[in-house]
Amino acid sequence: MSTSPSPADPRQLPSSAGSGTDRLAVVAAGGQVEPEVHERVRQTPAVLEIDRFNLWYGTKQALHSITMPIPHGKVTALVGPSGCGKSTLLRSVNRLNDLVPSVRITGEMRLNGDPIYDQRMDVIELRKRMGMVFQRPNPFPMSIYENVVYALRIDGESRRAVLDEVCERSLRGAALWDEVKDRLGESALGLSGGQQQRLCIARAIAAEPEVLLLDEPCSALDPIATGKVEDLIQELRGLYSVLIVTHNMQQASRSSDYTAFMYLGRLIEYGPTTDIFTKPVLRETEAYVTGRFG
């Protein structure tokens, strides 16, 4: 009954300028397309290399031969319509997908050169090298303090001084210190949604990860909290390599250095954020980032 074009209807899109073929239509039909990866991405040193990575949930393929380097010390944004596999990709990086029994993968990922999916890779150690923040704030049912120092606790750290120092540094890093410094012993569940999400970020950075994985960290937050988290990401830029999933184009353009556009499990275009948002190679990308589709 709606008269507006279906978002997935590729016929409504202007045809691709680069190749002359409609890539999204090809993808929707199950075909393969070469992703458009900008040269500048290839030139930066990568903290994480994803190499022809495929992933299946049972028989359904969710990621199709993803090949992308994640630059070191930069913020990389993953954008794309809902269900295109962004979270799946993120969870593949720290092997959280291992928990899903039906998952099967091929291809490779390397973290600073170490093969992530190698049989000899210790998953626990791997995850200790990364921090992850999820779509929904998920503080543990314990005190604010214990939440922040959780990663140290599980490593067996019990020296109070070390814990105190890390706790304060991480909470300051997550711009939460001033709000909670008087109630560190209280349950983290008493915090507001935005505070909880910043607490989760503090928890992730307390372990000093090599890569920070943020899966739509602001989707459950109001604009003010979102602003704070965005400011935080700005501050983290340069300190950590950040991989962030977002649906908010402004957020992507404001706070990331590189942007990757995914569609139905494929990487479509990947380049510096300014290029993606101002002069994308593909017209599909332009359509998506300008909000004409998706």
Partner: protein, 883 residues
Amino acid sequence: MNPDASFTGRARRRTTRPGVRFGDTLARAVITLGGIGTIAAVLLMGVFLLAVALPLFRSASIGGHATTSLDAVGGGGADAPAVMALGTDDTGEIAWNLDLAAGRMRLLDLADGAVVLDRPLGEAGSGLDGATALRVHPGSTLAVVGFADGAFRTATVGVESTFIPEAEIAADARAIAVGKALPDANGAVLRSAVDRWARIRVVTAAAGEPARELSGRIVDVDVTPLTGGPLVAAVDGTGAIRVERRSTKRNMLTGKEVTKRDGATIPAEAEVAGAAAAKAIHLRLSELGDQLWAISADGRGRRYSIREVDKPVLMESFDAGGGADVTAVVRVFGGNALAVGDAAGVVRVFFTSRQADATAEDGLAVVAAKTFPAADAARPERVTTLAASPRSRLFAAADAAGTVRLLHSTAGTTVLSVNAVAADRLAGAPRLLAMGARETTLLAADGRGIVSWGFDAGYPEISPGTLFRPVWYENYPGAVHAWETTGHQTFESKFGFIPLVVGTIKATLYAMLFATPVAILAAIFSSQFLHPSWRSRIKPVIEMMASLPSVVLGFMAGLVIAPLVERGLAPVIAGFFVVPLTLLLGAHLWQLLPTGARMRLAAWRLPIIGCLGLPVGCLASVTSAPLLERLLFGGDLRAWLDGRGGSGLGGWVLAFLPVAAIAATMICSRLVNPWLRGVSIGWPPRRAALVSLAVFGGGVVLTVALAVAAATFLDAIRLDARGGLLGSYVQRNAMIVAFGMSFAVIPLIFTIADDALSSVPDHLRSASLGAGATPWQTAIRVILPAATSGIFSAVMIGLGRAVGETMIVLMAAGNTPIMDWSLFSGFQTLSAAIATELPEAARGSSHYRVLFLAALTLFSLTFVLNTVAEIIRERFRRRSHEL
């Protein structure tokens, strides 16, 4: 686009269909009714239990009295014991009174005190003339009479009542009013209150030859019926005692009956002989005829063993008076205890019991177990007479002021008290008391009158004191908590509740101690580690185990596991420690595997360690058991448990091992591990694993050392685990019950805990794992705290099941209401007591009502448990709602 479609919603029906409304109302009504009905049913149950149990605590009541005035004839001084007997017939409506001093037999109607029959003994009493002492065995017509010339003989005295069949009722009997009696040739015909006719026949006849061994005037006699013939005893005014057993044999050839008399004469003691008249001796036989008690008026008591009646042996002398003169003695129902009243108004109950400081050669000593102070402490009056009930340990005591009290020898309480001396009652202090055959009438006589009361003693053997406090039962060495409700006819019932409550708590405690960790660990394993497809298969199987009939579990535990464990006790105990140790060792060895193999097999880690570790652990326990026995228990565990040989050390070592293990773990994680972390950075995994294995080994050694140290200390201060936590091994014991019950409880806790654990939001798990926690750390630090509410309710539901569990404890606990905390002793629970004893308890009896009280206790126990659990759970739940 469909042009007819409208988005204004105007086309929509705005009314709810009546059918829907009706359904809604109906559903609400049904649900409300069901809910209220359930609550009402539970409440009703409680009310019903209460209604049956509550009469136990009803106080005794006494009804109106009836007085009969007798001709003031004969009968020595006021203090001399009346040569009189008093009793009621089986209906309890007619009292009989044999007055040998006046030579009369009387029947009284207890309803109004009217004299139904009053006739001289005449022919029937020919052999009883001039009697100076008379005693009728309570509950029968067997009597013994003593005479002034020192002779004494048995007799039959009392009434025999028989119901008259409808057809044989004479015309004049039919005319009797209900509750009245009419004298006839042999006694009377009674039309009882329940409108049946009974013939009451008076019997007074001397039987057998008089014994003439004594020469003085007989002052007291006693008799007890034994199989083969009565045992009689008499004491004369000089203090000489004659005891003899009469057995009648019939000569097969001549048909003549020959009465054999075996007995002995105990000469008077020198100092008693002199002052014989002033120091009249009370003589009593025990019901079983194995003891003879002689208590002189000055309070000196002697106990003779008369197991061989012709060779009485003086066992001991004891003080029966407590300083005052003894004025009355009665054998309490059961025949093992004597109630002794003295001139100071005090009544004491004596019986023999095994005492450490006993001087008698049979190891027994007479103890004054109960003391009833004078009725009026301010003005104590001499106890004039005592009478025992023919059917319970109730007895009556009268004092010189005329106060008649009903006392209970087990409970040690005064059941009721009434005054016998008043204008419309007796003129003087009662000289004779009697309790009716049905324990509903109390009679008191003073030689010139008889007064009777109807009374209802209630449940005198039950009081909060007898239920919940230690009671000194007959022939026990001291006051104890005991539950023992069935025995022979004159058995003293022991309604101490505490052993059952302790048994219930013990069963629950040990079962839960065993089941809770296992069930929760299993739930953690299945919800966090097990592959979902396996989980979906295993969980229903375990759930099915929860519905196994408990009689099957009880059978397995009591008849299969119990004998097995009994044979291999040492390996089983060793297994408790060795198997977990093997599994931990296995986990450490696993870390030594090459990294590649370890990672490849990571998913199979737990099954592999479990499948290899368990058999190895069992094998190790079997092989290490003899060593353990030799090291700790002097070579024989069972003998050690029985208290033979070995020091207390071994038991303490085992008891302290778990605590020591926790302490050692804490020391390691506090001191060793941080240091290790510092130095181990950069080590290859193999080296790290070896070092951690070494640390583990050190921890085990430390654990053992700590346990031994603690045990040595306790042993040095002479504490022994035997008698407390450990004790003699019986086949069916708390450990077996814990095993058996765990089969019922583990599945219950497991399923609920598993549900609780797996319903913890997945994002918490992801967050923890994403932070680099191991699944085990995640489970313990995040999942478990988040599921506390569910786990707690799981444990509570398990607890509820364990508390009320009946069949398993019935079959595996041995049903011996022993009160201790030993892991290896049997016990009985409230539920098992109810199940075994209720079918045989007479409806309305105290046993029956006490069992209902047990049910009520169980009911309130579970009620309180669940309420507390619910409150705590609510607190947890509020917190986990915020997740």
